[in-house]
């Protein structure tokens, strides 16, 4: 096992400044830090999560440059009022990919695409959860390894 102090997802955008404005207006995610180069161009930013926001570059495209294809989802756990967050995102024009649903592990969540196609899953813990559906199984390999 590698020793870590944290993991941050970094998303690539064609227009990262527009992305920051959109993420705050639609998802309510505040910008924590912005770093600009000497020409004033945004080099890196960080929004609540934390999630890194950077300009796309060769080999690191935005989904908008891939016909909308996205290979990852950012999971954000809200402390309260997922329904209000969903309504706000919907009214502000977010494309809802998965409508709010309850998961067996005790969370309610929904998935929305941002302005360039990155997927965001917003969830809220609503119960202790229950057993997985028939045929499903849940394992905790790291715990199993530590117990050996």
């Amino acid at each position: 096992m590698v020793n870590t102090t944290g993991t941050t997802l970094e998303l690539h955008y064609r227009d990262p400044e527009a992305a920051l404005r959109w993420l705050e207006a639609v998802f309510g995610l505040e910008t924590e830090m912005m770093v600009s180069d000497p020409e004033g161009k945004l080099a890196f930013a960080r929004v609540q999560g934390p999630v890194g926001i950077v300009a796309e570059a060769p080999g690191r495209p935005s989904p908008a440059s891939l016909g909308g294809a996205s290979t990852q989802t950012v999971d954000v756990t809200l402390s309260d009022d997922l329904d209000a967050h969903y309504r706000r995102a919907l009214q502000a024009g977010a494309r809802i990919v998965i409508e709010p649903r309850q998961e067996f592990y005790g969370a309610t969540n929904y998935v929305a695409a941002d302005l360039e196609g990155h997927l965001w899953c917003f969830s809220q813990r609503v119960s202790e959860g229950g057993p997985p559906p028939d045929g499903w199984s849940v394992r905790f390999p790291a715990r199993e390894k530590a117990a050996r």
């Binding site: 102090t5 970094e10 400044e17 920051l20 404005r21 705050e24 910008t31 924590e32 830090m33 912005m34 770093v35 600009s36 180069d37 000497p38 004033g40 080099a43 080999g59 690191r60 290979t71 990852q72």
Partner: protein, 46 residues
């Protein structure tokens, strides 16, 4: 005040092409210190 980690990093691709950046903090700086060292400008609001 937001502090900024000065990091040593490398990037690697996973088998399916996801980019992983591994970083280690070598020094923690204030935005002013970091701006002076990097030549960049740090802001905390849009």
């Amino acid at each position: 005040m937001t502090l900024i980690d000065l990091e040593q990093v490398f990037l690697a691709l996973s088998p399916d092409g996801h980019i992983w950046t591994f970083a280690m903090t070598v020094e923690t700086l204030t935005p002013a210190q970091w701006d002076k060292a990097s030549g960049l400008t740090t802001r905390t609001r849009l």
